[in-house]
């Protein structure tokens, strides 16, 4: 009993077959669609390692059943860079050493992209820390993460203004 859903996955329209109603978005990506960049850290919404953007908002992929996502637009870490060009958040994570082992990093970066899009953290470190607190980093790279999000947020705001001018 297979069910088909339509997704826009990293900008590409896809018909995806769901072989089992229990499949989460996370296991769909990792085990069935060869997109293992999104990580599993707890499988129950407690760590943020699986953060992706669903219709532009951050979501824990481990908490979403794939079958319920017909028509959704999903962005994963693999879909963030434009070819060779890193997303500003990705570049800032490298520059500010916003990771150590890198396992929480795809989730941190997607969460940061979502946070910046939500628009209410700005570059205020206290609000960034709060807004990024759904993503656990066991290595403790928080200092670099906060700096990276701050910088990316500033750069993206500057670019937006530049674009508008």
């Amino acid at each position: 009993m297979s069910l088909f859903i339509s997704l826009t996955l990293n900008g590409e329209a896809r018909e995806v077959s769901i072989d089992d109603p229990r499949v989460t978005l996370l296991d769909l990506l990792r085990e069935r669609l060869a997109l293992p960049g999104t990580k599993k850290g707890c499988d129950r919404g407690q760590c943020g390692a699986c953060t992706v953007l669903v219709n532009g908002r951050r979501a824990n992929a481990c908490l979403m059943l794939a079958a319920g996502l017909d028509g959704a637009e999903i962005t994963t870490i693999e879909g963030l860079a434009r070819g060779e060009d890193l997303h500003p958040v990705q570049a800032a994570f490298i520059e500010h050493d916003g990771f150590q082992c890198g396992y929480c990093t795809p989730g941190q970066i997607m969460s940061a992209v979502g946070l910046i899009a939500e628009g209410d953290a700005g570059s205020d470190p206290e609000r960034i820390r709060e807004g990024m607190s759904g993503n656990i980093c066991r290595c403790g790279a928080y200092h670099g993460i906060t700096l990276a999000v701050q910088e990316a947020s500033r750069r993206m705001a500057a670019k937006d203004e530049g674009g508008a001018a």
């Binding site: 229990r22 599993k40 407690q46 082992c101 403790g140």
Partner: protein, 748 residues
């Protein structure tokens, strides 16, 4: 490229540079492949069922129900488990623990694997494992550290630490003008790397391919080979990226052995990934401790004695005793010292090394006790530590290979603004009325070295390939070791290809003991040196070389040239030396390790001083660490950017130890009641602010050829005590256990 040597590039120019991570691009784009990201064709998923009791036996498993579930292919239990060639009680390697691999139906701790279910999908295998609905015969459990059953043991290396003593301890107690006798407890903690333990196992005849995070590739290969009766070289282990290890990923676990067994049985690739809950079971933990500290000082506040007794838990079937009391060995100049350990056997999984094993728990107690002693002596805690500063190693009188601890104290205190701290507690409030306290702690971590090998291959175009099976679990080995490798040949970082994380490479040793950079780095440095030696021999013996007749010892390498140190106009390109000798490459090999004679002459440690500010809500008693300044002296710093990250990560672990982490057992069932990230707290971003790291310059000519000491673990040490002491300073409450929670401060 011009032939002119660019003046800013000197030998060793990569070391000391804050290069960004070479694996950074792969990690921020999601293409870095962690073990469980591999999904080979024909894969089966394995899920193990964990015991829900802590002691007894499994009396029934509903195997039929599991097997009947669509997609489930196999159910492996003690009744039908295929034979293993190695005895699970055996210890084939230094990192082997006695393992549960379904050898019988007994349960020795909650979370122990009691069956393995294979399925075509993860969903099927997961449901199959649930359907087993185990029934048990339950025996009474022991999960509390109980002094009554404590006993001594014969020390025996890894897991059974020796103590230490010097001077006359009883006399030290007797002559003390003031003494304290305090007991501190630390909770059981679980490593919980973000990447849970995982494995993808594939057999090809009697050859085994493993994708698995490992802190010790070659040792792991031998550890697994043992169970399957194959030579270690038949095992290939790929571990290019490790999602955090912290000591838990050097030791093969039972479920991983079972996954390999399942792959052999089914002749299909098998993937097994621990759930987060399963990380509180067979993958080791930092055992709980109770530590008694008796300190004494004379009239002049000089320590007459440090008497540190550690009580630690281990499992009923294997030994790993947290060497907490050993944290007192090398730190303060006490007239007499005794450090000793006893163990208690509990119905828990076997503990193991967890980031700063011994030092973290031991320092937590020692640094708080030092604070209590300073208080009793009426002295500022920093002044008290300086007053008892060990100029040479206590007991042996050996000199330290280097010890810039005084500078750490001074620079840390200055940056923090320690001066003017009121001696008495409960003296400071901030503008919002929050109770504010300042505390400090000393950090020490030894500088062990293990053994590692490396190979350097100079290529005809003057670039080089360096290889060693080193591992990057976040410390930055991909970057830092490449920097050391490049320096060894005087090349720039982009002229070096570096391969690591694969067991077919020369043995990179163990990523542990904060020794990996020094050890594997030492091997790479020696391998590069071996290439230079051979190049020098060729050039100086060749009349056509500008270096002909020059002594080999005065040659240096820079930017792809070999040149004479005292006359730099005499030089030749690596590529030309190779070409004229008719060689297409030149291979050098190197070993990293410490010569036994060097080990005896000096005491070798990294040092540091950590200063903490906490703010406590006067009504709610919520504690926030608002500032944390750590100053560390750890020999040569290869990469300041990555070093800062390591030290900060360690200090956050210290915060976690002090305020957050504790596995809590249900006393009746023996199960851990908070076995996930909702219940087992680790710091999140909002818990961390005001973090500052200072690295104090230190040249150490003795510790190893590169002068590297290691920074992976020392950040925790000192931090725990500093926070505990700051809480006392804010509230006047001396809480003698970790973590310190709101309830501890609310109680009258």
């Amino acid at each position: 490229m011009s032939d002119t040597l660019s003046p800013e590039i000197r030998f060793g120019s990569n070391s000391g540079q804050p290069a960004t991570r070479r694996d950074g691009l792969a990690k921020v784009t999601g293409v870095a492949t962690f073990a469980a990201d591999n999904t080979p064709e024909g894969l089966l998923h394995a899920v193990y069922a964990p015991a829900k009791i802590a002691r007894g036996r499994v009396s029934h498993l509903d195997v039929a129900a599991a097997e009947a579930h669509p997609g489930v292919t196999h159910v492996i239990t003690p009744q039908n488990r295929p034979e293993l060639q190695g005895d699970p009680s055996g210890k084939p390697t230094m990192f082997s623990f006695r393992t549960e691999v379904l050898q019988d139906d007994t349960v020795r701790y909650a979370g122990q694997p009691i069956a393995l279910v294979l399925g075509e999908t993860l969903e099927a295998a997961t449901e199959g494992a649930r359907l087993l609905a185990p029934q048990y015969e339950v025996d009474p459990v022991r999960v509390a550290l109980d002094d009554n059953t404590a006993r001594g043991f014969d020390p025996g290396g890894f897991g059974l630490p020796g103590g230490a003593s010097h001077g006359d301890v009883e006399a030290g107690h007797a002559v003390a003008a003031r003494s304290i006798d305090v007991s501190y407890e630390t909770a059981a903690q679980y490593h919980n790397a973000m990447e849970t333990h995982a494995i993808v196992a594939q057999w090809d005849g009697d050859r085994l391919m493993l994708d698995m995070p490992s802190q010790a590739l070659k040792v792991s290969c031998a550890g697994f080979a043992y169970f399957f009766g194959i030579p270690p070289e038949n095992v290939t282990l790929r571990s290019p990226y490790i999602g955090g290890g912290f000591g838990s990923k050097a030791i093969p676990t039972g479920p991983q052995v079972l996954a390999i067994l399942a792959a052999r049985m089914t002749q299909r690739p098998v993937k097994l990934m621990f759930t987060r809950q399963q990380m509180f079971g067979p993958a080791g933990h930092r055992g709980a401790t109770r530590q008694r500290l008796r300190l004494g000082v004379d009239e002049n506040a000089a320590l007459t004695v440090i008497d540190h007794e550690g009580l630690a838990e281990t499992s009923t079937f294997d030994d790993f005793v947290e060497p907490a009391a050993n944290a007192s060995h090398d730190l303060y100049a006490a007239g007499a010292l005794r450090a000793s350990h006893r163990l208690v056997r509990l119905d828990v999984g076997t503990p193991g090394p967890m980031r700063a094993p011994g030092e973290a728990s031991g320092s937590a107690a020692l640094e708080c006790a030092m604070d209590e002693m300073a208080e009793a002596a009426g002295m500022d805690p920093l002044e008290f530590r300086l007053h008892n500063y060990a100029e040479t190693q206590p007991g042996t009188g050996r000199p330290y290979s280097s010890k810039a601890l005084r500078e750490c104290y001074a620079e840390g205190a200055a940056r923090f603004g320690w001066e003017g701290r009121p001696l008495e507690p409960r003296q400071m409030r901030d503008a919002d009325g929050l109770m504010t306290g300042w505390g400090m702690g000393t950090a020490l971590f030894p500088c062990p070295m293990f053994a590692a090998e490396a190979r350097a291959t100079l290529r005809p175009d003057g670039t080089a390939l360096f290889e060693t099976s080193a591992v990057d679990m976040g410390q930055g080995a991909w970057t830092v070791l490449a920097q050391i490798a490049a320096d060894s040949l005087g090349l720039t970082l982009d002229q070096v290809e570096f391969r690591a994380g694969h067991s077919a490479l020369p043995d990179g040793g163990v990523a542990g003991g904060s020794a990996h950079t020094a050890t594997a780095g030492g091997a790479l440095h020696a391998a590069g040196g071996d290439v230079l030696r051979q190049l020098g021999e060729l050039a100086t013996a060749d009349p056509q070389s500008p270096l002909y007749g020059a002594g080999n010892s005065s040659l240096v390498a820079r930017h792809g040239w070999l040149l004479l140190e005292e006359d730099e106009s005499r030089r030749e390109r690596f590529a030309d030396i190779l070409a004229r000798a008719g060689k297409t490459e030149m291979i050098g090999t190197g070993h990293g390790g410490r010569a036994p004679e060097a080990a005896g002459r000096h005491a070798m440690n990294s040092h540091g001083a950590v200063f903490a500010e906490v703010k406590v809500d006067p009504d709610l008693r919520q504690v926030r660490v608002t500032r944390l300044v750590g100053a560390f002296a750890a020999g040569r710093i290869i990469n300041p950017r990555l070093t800062e990250s390591q030290l900060m990560g360690g200090m956050i672990w210290g915060t976690s130890f002090a305020l957050h982490e504790a596995a809590r057992h249900d006393r009746r069932s023996g199960r851990i009641v908070n076995a996930d990230f909702a219940g087992y707290h680790v710091p999140v971003n909002a818990d961390v602010s005001g973090l500052e790291v200072i690295t104090v310059h230190e040249d150490d000519p003795y510790v190893n050829a590169l002068g590297i000491k290691g920074v992976g673990e020392i950040g925790i040490v000192g931090t725990v005590g500093a926070i505990g002491n700051a809480i006392w300073h804010a509230t006047g409450k001396r809480v003698r256990h970790f973590p310190i929670r709101i309830a501890d401060l609310l109680a009258p």
